[in-house]
Structures are given as C-alpha cells and as structure tokens.
Assembly symmetry: C2
DNA sequence: TTGGTTGCAAAGCTTTTGCATATAT
DNA sequence: ATATATGCAAAAGCTTTGCAACCAA
C-alpha cells in the first residue's frame, strides 16, 4: 500500500482506500468531485464504496489536507490543500475550472479587515466568464 | 395583489404567490434561503407550496431579478439583484452574511482579463472569518 | 485484541418534475 | 378561451448514517 505521509496518527489508520482516494485527489490536476473520484477509484479497487469516498473526503477536510469548493453547481469539488492560496476562474461555457493568483486579493483582505473590523481567515474568489479557448471558438462559429 | 413592476410580460403572469415571494426576498435584509422563504410565505398564504417557491426562484434567476449564492452550505441563498455589485463576508462563528464593496475587485478583474485572456462577466468573492461582534464575544469569554 | 474503517443499504435534505386543477390575461 | 401557474405527491440528485463485518495497529 502506498504510504501517504500526511495520513496517520491521532488514532487514524492507513487503509488502501484512504491512500487511493488521497492519491487520486492530488493527481486530479486541480479539482475533482465525489462522483468522478468514485469512478476513478473503482478502476483500482472495484469494491470501494461511495460512502468511503465521502467519509474520507470529510476526514481530509477536517485534517485540512483538502479543500472543498461549492462553485456554482449542485455538487462540490475537492482539491488538495494548495501550498499557496489561489483562486478560480469558472468558464460558463465549457464548465472548466482554472486557477489564478493575484496580489490585490491580499490588499483587499487588509482593507476589509480595517474597514469592517472583520477578521479574515480566508478568501474564496471565483471569477465567472469565458475562457480563452471558448472565446476563440465563438469567433470561429458565432452562435 | 401588490403589483411588482418587474414581473410581467413575455407570457409571464402576475400571481399573488409570485408577488409575495418576490416581496419577501426583497425585504429579506440581504439573504434568504428557500426554506425560510417558504416558512415566511406560508404565514401570508398558508396553502402556498414549496415547489412554487422553487419555481419562482428559478424564474427570478432567469429574469436576472434575483441572484443565487452557494456560500459554503448545503443549500442556496437568494437575494434581489443589487443595483451595485457587492461581495460577502461570511462569519464562520455565527453564520451571519455581511456585505462589502471594494474597488480593488474591479482592478483585479482587469488584471485577470489581461493576464489570462479570460473574459470576466462577474466576480463572486467571499471572505471567510470572524465578524466584529463575534470577536468581542470571544474576548469577553474566551473558549 | 480492539477500535477505527469499510461496504451495503437505507435514510436525509435540498431541489426538480409530472399531472390535474386553478387562474391570469 | 387558453396557456401559464399552482398544489400535491413522487422522484431525483448529492450526501450522510446505521450496522455488521473487516482489518490496521
């Protein structure tokens, strides 16, 4: 079984399902939802159950190894805790989720803390719009 | 029945349920979810159904009269389309949702459009943290 | 050995949908 | 008159939970 350094201790156990799920999230090039995770996991471990996926997702959230995003959909997406905070671009045409960073966000946090006496612990920023590929696509064949 | 100027035309009908729902959202001091809307609506119209609430919410969204927010919960919140774009502060202690505006957001949008060739149509910014009341509360009796 | 974990099935919650009835226009 | 809207109940997502069996430590 692949040893995932982060997962252990505190009365927690290292199981093959847990390691697999963590591995799949971290290899998921950004974001993945529970259902896709489940489908990918079954290819490696056909008997794994969806509840195991959800239970581990919950655990990873509590351990702060993984972040949960609501985006605008009916289901949630997960990503391994990024070393550096980043934000998301959501293409409203193809549904793709891209990442970006921008230093103005830190400035904004500071301003808000001062202006509203609100202690900011994290920022969740989603810019909704059209990605570059879809823009080209629309030029090529306008609808 | 209260006439809601925005709701009419395009084969749309003015019903007492529709007017009531719109009225409740706009009076909801910021944000309200479907269930609370339903409970408030029943006080005025005891026979109104939850599906009517959801169907009108959907309609208002399509008509761009109301905005839907996912925040971080399992259900969605709604607010009447604000004249000016604003963003949200989410208190992770008491759950309150506050509003704020910040000019850096427009700057950030421009930078992102240039740097990522992404055409931004709207920004959804949530700052998670502790509101001023809860900060005082924690000072008073630290846990 | 034993308490955390899993798989399965069932339940929960929010949101959506089918259909007959009611109603705005 | 007639197409839109409603109420009710049933269904449909996504997520959580109870429980017996399993297995990592």
């Amino acid at each position: 079984m692949v040893r995932v350094h982060d997962i252990a201790g505190e009365g927690r156990r290292q199981t093959s399902q847990r390691a697999l799920i963590y591995d799949l999230i971290s290899k998921a090039n950004g974001h993945i939802d529970a259902d896709e995770l489940y489908r990918k996991a079954r290819k490696k471990q056909p008997r794994i159950s969806l509840s195991t996926v959800y239970r581990n997702l919950q655990l990873f959230k509590e351990m702060r190894l993984v972040e949960e995003h609501g985006f605008s959909e009916a289901h949630r997406h997960y990503e391994v805790k990024p070393r550096a905070e980043h934000q998301h671009l959501l293409c409203q045409r193809c549904g793709k989720v891209l990442e970006f960073k921008n230093p103005l966000i830190d400035q904004m946090k500071k301003q808000v803390e001062e202006q509203h006496s609100f202690k900011v612990s994290s920022a969740d920023v989603n810019l909704i719009g059209i990605c570059s590929l879809c823009q080209k696509d629309e030029e090529a064949r306008p609808e």
